[in-house]
């Protein structure tokens, strides 16, 4: 597990395009209800910040929404999609809930652990992969599966896992 080191650099620099995107999200809600935009903004900002939310990044979101930092912390800590510690370049989230277990998700997790030489919750030494497990991803008929970036990779086999890992290493897969 990489130790959390909080520095000012943990706050991402947002491009004008990203700032415009965030303003667009805020405008999806009536005046005075901008706090409703928080989840989507956290998703956007997390991607910009290397896949995780530092306290400093969360403070930035509080400033954008003109709310107290604690309001962002309590949301970010409640929803399990948000990473509160640094992660690798690619986060592999393997679904481990019942229907996936019935079709072999335990073996999938073990194969990835063995292949990458890390345990669930850890990041590879080269900072390339973080392995996580996830509760039901809503793709029960297509298991075993994992989420990498915004996409699902379904019907996993050892071969297709190898192919995916190689594609990630070659930069052919979308990050976070």
């Amino acid at each position: 597990m990489i130790k959390t080191v909080i520095t000012q650099q943990d706050r991402p620099v947002l491009s004008p395009e990203k700032m415009a995107e965030i303003q667009g999200v805020i405008q999806q809600f009536p005046e005075g209800k901008s706090k409703s935009a928080i989840l989507r903004i956290l998703h956007i900002v997390e991607r910009e910040a290397g896949g995780w939310l530092s306290p400093d990044t969360m403070d930035m979101v509080a400033e954008i929404l003109s709310i107290e930092p604690i309001e962002v912390y309590e949301v970010a800590t409640f929803y399990t999609m948000f990473n509160l510690n640094p992660v690798g370049k690619y986060v592999l989230e393997v679904c481990q809930t019942g229907p996936c277990m019935l079709v072999g998700s335990d073996q999938t997790i073990e194969y990835i652990e063995k292949t990458l030489d890390i345990k669930v919750g850890e990041t590879t030494a080269d900072g390339m992969f973080t392995l996580k497990t996830s509760e039901c991803l809503g793709a029960c008929g297509y298991g075993p599966l994992l989420k990498c970036g915004i996409h699902y990779h379904e019907h996993l086999t050892n071969d297709s896992i190898d192919t995916l890992l190689t594609a990630c290493r070659n930069g052919e897969v979308e990050k976070y």
Partner: protein, 447 residues
């Protein structure tokens, strides 16, 4: 072939685009409703159709709509619950991914019926690519004049937006969904007041499942009188079933209510039987929260009659010998699967997903998970089985939202029908360990 009302055109290339959807009868229900019907006509049509909420609870949709308060000068909201997270359920994903315009069409007609001028689709955060599909389709609908100001010259305005969640099963509970959409933690609210009176931002709100809203489209197109002729007397119409587990052909199927469970599992048109030529051991017919059924109660009722795919037949026999249609998350276990281990798996799921607001659920789900974990790992004793039943009773009915019940029911049902298997685990600790692949370790669920 069974009748298809929702998925009829799913295989048409380009059906996710406005033009192709329109060519196949898309948006006719909007024209019909906005031009020829009053909002109350639409509500009555849905009421008369007997449509029951397709998210899991099965509450009549038309009745839910009729509860909506309509104070002067206060906006009303329609929220689409696309936070599909019940283990075994993946039907809404399929529908939104392939037929985004069907959902949008259903939301326009439903918003018109309820007098909502701003509606949201709250979609689980993990479905981010589907959010993009929906937003693309919504932009098309705006461009074609089916969303925005004065739709089809009717004077009705509607803005439709999509908002993602952040990975929390509890946000599928309607008041938790509202909290989440307000930008807060997904803690369910005390009821009353119900959302119909005080929902999003304190305004009257209706929350409906994706499939329920999509079903409004064929109901308006064909009329309630025709719709009720499909299915059974108490379960009108069709239902999407997401079949998974050890099946030859898992997937999402639209069935006419009332086909037999046997036909659905073994029929060529549907799941084509159990994978790898194995026998069926158990079935969870409606998502992880509903009671599990042992082999002898799957295709037959306790009375010996055929069990059918309908609200009433799946719940026939109550919790003693029946289950529920729930969300249509149809999970099939083959003979090699361990019910005890799966019960632990689901208990872990609920412990992970409890919002932590009510002590019986927050503590109880954790206790159940730990007790089950030690049984599965060959460290349980006979008293643990009764202890589980005891914890169960203390959670059930004692929480603000139904997550407590949802966590308690599957454990109770597993013990009811598979007590011998629990006892076997207690009596054969070493064999239990050998049988349970990878169970020696405690899998953490978050980084």
């Amino acid at each position: 072939m069974g009748r298809k009302l929702l998925l009829e055109h799913i295989d048409v290339p380009g059906i996710e685009t406005f033009d192709v959807w329109r060519k196949h009868g898309g948006y006719l229900s909007v024209e019909k409703a906005l031009k020829n019907m009053s909002p109350d006509d639409v509500v009555n049509e849905v009421k008369n159709s007997g449509l029951r909420g397709r998210g899991g609870a099965g509450f009549p949709t038309g009745m839910k709509w009729s509860f909506l308060a309509k104070p002067e000068g206060v906006p009303r909201y329609l929220l689409c619950n696309a936070d599909e997270s019940e283990p075994g359920t993946f039907k809404d994903r399929y529908l939104m991914e392939k037929l985004p315009h069907l959902l949008i069409e259903g939301m326009i007609v439903s918003s018109y019926a309820l007098g909502a001028n701003l509606s949201y689709i709250y979609i689980r955060g993990e479905y981010m690519w589907i959010l993009e599909i929906l937003e693309k389709a919504i932009a098309e609908a705006y461009a074609k004049g089916f969303l925005g100001k004065n739709i089809l010259g009717s004077g009705f305005d509607l803005d439709l937006r999509v908002a993602p969640g952040g990975g929390a099963y509890i946000c599928g509970e309607e008041t938790a969904l509202i909290e989440s959409l307000e930008g807060k933690r997904g803690n369910p609210r005390m009821k009353p007041p119900f959302p119909a009176v005080k929902g999003l931002w304190g305004c009257p709100t209706v929350v409906n499942n994706v499939e329920s809203l999509a079903t409004v489209v064929p109901i308006i197109n064909m009329g309630a009188d025709e719709y009720v002729k499909i299915g059974t007397e108490k379960s009108a119409g069709t239902k999407l079933i997401s079949a998974c587990g050890n099946l030859v052909r898992p997937g999402v199927y639209e069935i006419e209510m009332g086909i037999s469970v046997e036909e659905f599992i073994y029929g060529d048109e549907w799941c084509r039987g159990i994978a790898n030529n194995k026998q069926i051991k158990a079935l969870i017919p409606g998502g992880s929260s509903v009671p599990i059924l042992p082999a002898h109660l799957i295709t037959k009722l306790a009375t010996g009659e055929d069990r059918l795919m309908s609200y009433e037949s799946l719940s026939e026999g109550g919790f003693a010998t029946g289950s529920m249609l729930g969300s249509g998350g149809f999970i099939v276990f083959d003979e090699d699967q361990s019910v005890v281990r799966n019960t632990w798996n689901f208990a872990r799921f609920y412990a992970h997903e409890s919002c932590g607001q009510c002590s019986p659920c927050r503590e109880g789900t954790g206790w159940m998970q730990r007790v089950l974990h030690r049984i599965v790992n060959g460290q349980g004793n006979m008293r643990d089985i009764d202890l589980l039943a005891d914890i169960n009773k203390k959670i059930e009915g004692n929480t603000i939202c139904p997550l407590g019940d949802a966590a308690a029911w599957p454990v109770a049902a597993a013990i009811r029908h598979f007590r011998e298997e629990f006892e076997w685990y207690v009596n054969h600790p070493e064999e239990a360990l050998k049988r349970n692949y990878g169970m020696l370790k405690n899998t953490p669920t978050t980084v």
